[in-house]
Amino acid sequence: MLIAATIAILVVMALTIVRGCMGPTLYDRILAVNMFGTKTVLLISLLGFVMGRPEFLDIAIVYALINFISVIGVLRFSDSFGFKPPHQDKASGEKGS
């Protein structure tokens, strides 16, 4: 069952990569990266069990955190400068993540 779950997650990761390469908008790509990250967390914890060394769970925790930070960073920096669509007229003119 562990192996089956690992294979399923690998398939899903391949699908997200397809979406990331295809993705018509920037946000599709960010979504794909985010989903890829969460699937990697699952993959690493599964692999730890498959190999019988649950020390790998530390890496999964790091992944979960770093994935969050990088997605927030991507949203923050991709919006914040030089990438503002002209038709947008918010009162503050700025938007965050």
Binding site: R29, V33, G37, I59, V62, G73, F81, S92
Partner: protein
């Protein structure tokens, strides 16, 4: 483009996991996936997303690449097979590390004992390289800040940050956990995967998250940059000092056996202190690098806003 490089970092890290390189996967997870992607993005934000390059002469480049690749593949025919126990790389120092490191160093994680004890001088060099790169970024990107600019930027930031309340609150909950986890990684490096390099990067990542969500001027007030720069030097000096102390005690440079009565206890003490030094140096250097990049962005944005 940069997003895909983020995926690439994640992918290579999971590859390392499958190849049993826990510590390396740990580092690649935090660096390749997180921090370097962020730096790429900040640079792209500063230099503009547009790209108007004409591909010129791809044929020549392709030819070079194919010839080199073919030669390299030809060379691999002489290499040992994947996973071969008898490969030359696995025959020389590796058995000694695996059999004797428990008796000599007393640390479960062989990677830590090799990193911090057998090859401590090498690691010292790496830390100095990182420190130098931090100084280089500081020299290239830092600038004199004017207080009036600062005030305007912070008012810009405040209007921006009132909008994303949810993310801010969740991050406020998460940041203490991240810092705590970084300390766990730092001091658990003797027994599991982890150590100074990883812990430093995770610690810095928490502070980067804070700086991104609450604005640079707030983060600057919370984390004094002079203090951070001082600590970068303190980290490297701490590492070097252990070496000097062990010399004063009559051993070689970075020979921890003489640090305590019992050689194994001395090794433990030495590894603990130099990992701490590495952690401090790496964390502060990453913070310095990120703060300088992000400050540039704020100033550029400010200039653009003024022009409009």
């Amino acid at each position: 483009m940069a997003m895909l490089s983020g995926i690439y970092g994640l992918l290579s890290a999971s590859l390392f996991v499958t190849m049993d390189a826990v510590d390396v996967a740990f580092t690649e997870a935090s660096i390749g996936a997180g921090i370097s992607t962020l730096l790429m993005l900040t640079t792209i934000a500063m230099t503009g997303r547009t790209e108007h390059s004409v591909r010129h002469k791809p044929l020549l480049a392709l030819a070079v690449v194919f010839v080199t690749g073919a030669l390299l593949i030809y060379a691999t025919l002489d290499m040992p097979y994947f996973g071969d126990v008898m490969a030359p790389a696995n025959l020389h120092v590796m058995p000694r590390y695996i059999q004797d490191s428990m008796a000599e160093i007393g640390v479960d994680n062989i990677v830590t004992s090799v990193l911090a004890s057998y090859r401590a001088f090498d690691t010292f060099g790496e830390v100095v390289v990182i420190f130098t790169a931090g100084i280089g970024v500081l020299a290239l990107l830092s600038f004199a800040r004017r207080p009036e600019d600062d005030a305007e930027i912070s008012s810009d930031n405040i209007s921006m940050h009132e909008q994303n309340l949810i993310v801010r609150i969740v991050s406020k909950i998460l940041i203490p956990f991240i810092l705590l986890f970084a300390l766990y990684v730092q001091f658990h490096g003797d027994f599991g995967p982890g150590g100074g390099f990883q812990a430093g990067v995770i610690f810095a990542a928490a502070i980067i998250l804070y700086a991104m969500l609450f604005g640079m001027s707030v983060a600057r007030r919370a984390i004094n940059q002079t203090f951070v720069q001082l600590f970068a030097a303190v980290g490297v000096l701490l590492y070097g000092m252990v070496g000097v102390v062990s010399m004063l005690n009559g051993g070689n440079f970075l020979d921890y056996n003489v640090l305590s009565e019992d050689p194994v206890a001395g090794q433990h003490l030495g590894i603990l202190i130099i990992e701490l030094g590495v952690g401090i140096a790496v964390a502060t250097v990453v913070i310095i690098i990120f703060f300088n990049f992000a400050d540039r962005i704020d100033i550029l944005k400010h200039k653009v806003n003024k022009k409009l």
